[in-house]
């Protein structure tokens, strides 16, 4: 039962890796996931300006239910062009 976490932009530096696998028992909420991570990373991914995509679709943080085979991407404020 593996969930993939992706860290975009500066969040990659906080995580130390661009992506991470997490073993989960069932459908995990954002607080479930955050408590499994390093505290600094947990704070960074739950910051108000970080958007979340579940399997490529934006979701509200409160609606996150992610389980086996899912991909959860954390998208900090953009800085393009």
């Amino acid at each position: 039962m593996t969930l993939t976490l992706l860290f975009l932009g500066p969040l990659e530096d906080v995580a130390g890796v661009p992506e991470m696998s997490l073993d989960v028992a069932g459908a995990a909420t954002l607080p479930d996931i955050a408590e499994r991570l390093d505290p600094a990373l947990a704070v960074a991914i739950t910051a108000p300006r970080v958007r979340i995509a579940l399997n490529g679709q934006l979701v509200a943080p409160a609606d996150v239910r992610a389980g086996n085979g899912d991909e959860l991407a954390f998208l900090p404020p953009v800085s393009g062009g």
Binding site: G9, P10, A53, L75, V78, S79, G80, G81
Partner: protein, 151 residues
């Protein structure tokens, strides 16, 4: 006609514009903007990298071009955006809008650039002698975006 793409490798903006203009014979004008990696005297930036998130970045750019076409009378739209590592002088983004009348083309190109800078799914980092550093969003970019709020 809408051509929107991500370029993982360097592109030639002049060739792209030549091709874009070739078939746009009903256009009264084409407005284009080319953004490139800046090189200033004493600038310590050696390279720049743009990252993206494939499920959202290109679909978002496409949606943006569609919004421009709905808002202005355009004959054709071209958006090319680099991803990956670039060096000073490299093209980053090319936007071109063809319209029967110039005002539509000018405004649509300006709209596209403001949105690409501040709401498209890109993350930028720069390399200097100290290594790589992520660039924070600029307040000015958000002010530029506010110009286009629908009243």
């Amino acid at each position: 006609m809408r051509r929107v793409r991500l370029a993982p490798e360097p592109f030639d903006p002049h060739e792209e514009l030549r091709r874009f203009g070739e078939t746009r014979t009903t256009a009264g004008g084409i407005v284009s903007f080319l953004g490139q990696v800046r090189q200033e005297e004493g600038d310590p930036v050696e390279a720049l990298e743009l990252r993206h998130y494939p499920p959202l970045t290109l679909p978002g750019m496409d949606e943006l071009a569609l919004r421009a076409e709905t808002r202005w009378r355009l004959i054709a739209t071209l958006v090319i955006h680099r991803v990956g590592i670039m060096v000073p002088g490299d093209p980053i983004v090319l936007v071109a809008c063809a319209a029967r009348h110039r005002r539509d083309a000018f405004e649509a190109a300006d709209f596209l650039m403001d949105h690409l800078k501040s709401s498209a799914w890109f993350w930028k980092r720069e390399k200097t002698a100290e290594g790589w550093r992520w660039i924070e969003p600029r307040g000015q970019d958000h002010a530029d975006l506010a110009r286009w709020a629908e009243s």
